[in-house]
């Protein structure tokens, strides 16, 4: 199983590897959520959904079901955050 935005922990940053174009709306891409961009999980709503992310300068909230479609590679994980 590969990592998706939905698997990030608050504060973690990942680089977007792949977005399935047929199931993710064009609008999300147009708002800056693109392959190769860094995405940071800013916050999770109190009931675990939606997710508040920062990507390519945009602050967006998306639902978990969409977030779980977007594959990422973690570049800053919880250990790094705790160390710094």
């Amino acid at each position: 199983m590969s990592t998706t935005i939905a698997d990030l922990i608050v504060g973690e940053i990942g680089v977007i590897d792949d977005i399935p174009f047929d199931s993710v709306p064009l609008k999300l891409l147009e708002m800056g959520c693109l392959p190769g961009k860094e995405v940071e999980l800013m916050q999770i709503a109190p009931l675990k959904d939606p997710l508040y992310i920062k990507v390519n300068g945009s602050h967006l909230a998306i639902r978990k079901e969409t977030a779980s479609l977007i594959k990422v590679t973690k570049i800053k994980n919880l250990c790094d955050i705790l160390k710094s």
Partner: protein
């Protein structure tokens, strides 16, 4: 006389960029709000002097992130630039961008520029640059974008003059497209497209092909040409995605050279505020407190000007009556028109306060946080977090609220929201509630702070929300509607709201409401007055009939007149109609006079109050008291006690909480859902519920 030049300017930009504030700064109060033909999207235009004899007609287009629409409002932007309406095609486009998110704003700018029309980039909020550690090489940016770029701060009124100058000199702006990416998307495809659409710009041809399903009308000359290209939807979708990626690559390339930002300074405050406002406990507590504040102020603050308006109109009626000679015209004025206008004006304080709060919540960026907080909860009830906006605006008026549901991406979630929004307590219910509460709930305070009447009103609001949510849950279970739902919302940075924007919004919405609803109320008041002051033969002979009836009794002049007036009302056209439905509403505790008000308030709920005002003032020749006093003095003929006692008042409150009594809302639901099925479901479902609930309330309480 020489005609001065008028430039047609289109103002576009992402939401939350301060576009509306720039529009307000440019046009001042010279604005006009109308609707786009065929749709109920608001069209705001304003005229303003640019330079010397050069004037501009500026249209404030709906905020959008892209020219590819994902909602009805955004569709307007596409339609404008495809240029089906040639006469309104903009001479120049002003694209407003937020300095903090220039990248995403340039995405829209690059699309506009590719249409090959003069475009000016206005970068707003320059006053925040230093704080956020941003610097821009404007001269280089101008060169790279092949366009005029103006740095402004709409809030601080900096650079407005420069914008005007740039508009006045729009002819000097070049119309070169900037992002030359067609070949890299699919060289072969675009080569063919270019050959087939030699008579228009390549990007416009691309939009025609990819957006044909969103265009209301396609010029016949393009029609068959489009068909050959749009066949392979999957391929087109892939190409659109590629286009987006390439556009961003191009923008990144430019910004790398011209835009520097200090990431450390960029975030900070926002993050801290977010932590509190979307906290799992404080988040909801704060939202609840804000709602409480809104309702408390509607009832507590608004009553002062409302009582003033009420008594002013009562005095005006009296004064007019004394000034004018007796006659039909005088009666129409005193009994029909003046109370009718009073019934409209009395709304203004409450509506203005509601719109004020909603405008502040939107302007500060708080509303997005509420959407974020509420999404998961709302989904259980078949709605989206974005349904909170319609449900909260529904407390002002269901019509703009139902239109606000357009931002909801999923059709089922949107439909459920549209269907349940009329349950929320709109301001038209307020006068009905206000007067009934004032009649049946004592004026006391609990713990010295909360007024008992305020709490009663708040419970009615809660009842509205709860019924909206419960019916959402029911509809979610029962409706079989297909369609994918998705959800994206921008979480804008927090801003201190601009006073000017708020004042303008409140003025505009209040004006629209007063004139929109006002026309109906005034017309109904006049019709009512006519129907109440005329009738068949028994009406005309009222005096004779009553006199012969009471011959044996010793009545003084006053009592006799009162009896005649009552008899007249009973036998007027409206009285006959009220009597006809009396058997149906008697189980709810109402008499035929209330019945009349129920009939007329099908047009709009608030007519209930003005109807009773008209009825009682037709009946009551002597005193021109306030509506409340007249209702309080009304006697139930069967019991000899007050007509508006506790059970009847409660029964009426419950009836108005549930009943779908608003013709305009039904019309808007028909338009938004494009079918009669849904408004009819609302009408019958809600009325049946109202009848049942009132019946139970009245029976239990009495």
């Amino acid at each position: 006389m020489r005609h001065s030049e008028v430039i047609n300017v289109a103002l576009v930009g992402n939401p939350n960029t301060g576009k509306s504030l720039l529009f307000n700064q440019l046009t001042g109060l010279n604005q006009k709000v109308s609707n786009y033909p065929g749709v109920t999207v608001e069209k705001k235009t304003g005229t303003s002097k640019m330079q010397g004899e050069v004037f501009a007609k500026i249209t404030d287009l709906p905020g959008t992130y892209s020219i590819n629409p994902s909602s009805l409002d955004e569709n307007i932007v596409l339609q404008t630039f495809i240029g089906i309406d040639k006469s309104n095609y903009p001479d120049v486009v002003v694209v407003v961008a937020d300095v903090e998110n220039l990248k995403r704003n340039l995405f829209l700018f690059s699309q506009i520029k590719d249409l090959e029309i003069p475009a000016i980039l206005v970068i707003n909020m320059s006053d925040r640059m230093e704080k956020k550690g941003i610097s821009i090489d404007i001269e280089l940016l101008k060169k790279e974008l092949k366009s005029e770029v103006v740095l402004i701060s709409a809030r601080k009124r900096l650079g407005i003059g420069k914008v005007k100058r740039a508009i006045a000199n729009y002819k000097e702006a070049n119309t070169l497209k900037i992002a030359d990416i067609a070949d890299r998307i699919d060289a072969q495809f675009f080569k063919e497209l270019k050959e087939k659409f030699a008579d228009t710009s390549l990007y416009k041809a691309w939009l025609l092909v990819t957006q044909s399903q969103n265009l209301t009308s396609i010029p016949p000359k393009f029609k068959d040409r489009i068909e050959s290209f749009e066949a392979d939807k999957i391929k087109l979708n892939k190409m659109q995605n590629k286009e987006t990626i390439l556009r961003y690559q191009y923008i990144n390339h430019i910004l790398k050279k011209t835009y520097i930002t200090d990431a450390e300074k960029a975030t900070g405050m926002r993050h801290k505020i977010d932590k509190v406002l979307t906290h799992k406990i404080f988040g909801y507590v704060i939202f609840a407190l804000i709602l409480l504040l809104i309702f408390q102020s509607i009832f507590d603050w608004a009553t002062v000007p409302m009582d003033l308006i009420d008594s002013t109109f009562a005095n005006l009626s009296e004064w007019t009556k004394n000034q004018l000679p007796e006659g039909v015209f005088s009666n129409l004025l005193v009994e029909g028109i003046i109370p009718g206008i009073g019934g409209i004006v009395i709304f203004i304080p409450q509506i203005a306060i509601l719109f004020l709060f909603i405008a502040i919540l939107e302007e500060t960026g708080y509303m997005s946080r509420v959407v974020f907080l509420m999404d998961k909860i709302m989904r259980r009830f078949g709605m989206s977090g974005k349904s909170v906006v319609p449900l909260v605006s529904g407390t002002a008026c269901a019509i703009p609220a139902i239109m606000a549901a357009r931002n909801i991406e999923g059709w089922k979630e949107r439909l459920v929201t549209i269907l349940v929004t009329p349950f929320t307590t709109c301001s038209a219910r307020l006068p009905v509630y206000a007067i009934l509460i004032a009649l049946i709930i004592p004026q006391q305070r609990i713990l010295g702070i909360f007024s008992l009447q305020g709490l009663a009103l708040m419970s009615l609001y809660l009842l509205g929300f709860v019924s909206a949510i419960v019916s959402g849950w029911l509809l979610n279970k029962t409706l079989k509607v297909k369609g994918k739902s998705f959800f994206i919302i921008e979480m804008p940075d927090y801003k201190i709201p601009s006073l000017k924007n708020i004042v303008f919004t409140v003025l505009e919405k209040t004006k629209a409401f007063v004139f929109g609803a006002g026309k109906i109320i005034l017309a109904i008041s006049i019709i009512l007055w006519f129907l109440a002051s005329n009738g068949p033969a028994s009406f005309d002979n009222a005096e004779k009939i009553v006199k012969s009836k009471v011959e044996n009794k010793q009545l003084n002049q006053d009592e006799l007149e009162k009896q005649i007036a009552t008899y007249k009302l009973e036998n007027s056209y409206i009285g006959i109609a009220g009597k006809a439905i009396e058997p149906a509403i008697k189980p709810l505790g109402y008499d035929w006079k209330i019945g009349i008000a129920l009939i007329t308030s099908f047009a709009a709920r608030e007519v209930f109050v003005s109807t009773l005002a008209t009825i009682y003032s037709v009946e009551d020749n002597e005193n021109t008291n306030t509506i409340k006093e007249r209702m309080g003095a009304e006697i139930n003929q069967d019991t000899g006690k007050k007509r508006f006692n506790f059970p009847v008042g409660m029964s009426l409150l419950v009836f108005y909480a549930f009943a779908m009594q608003c013709v305009s809302t039904l019309a808007i639901v028909k338009r938004e859902t494009n079918s009669w099925k849904w408004p009819l479901l609302q009408l019958f479902g809600m009325t049946a519920l109202a009848y049942l609930a009132s019946f139970i309330t009245f029976t239990v309480l009495s």
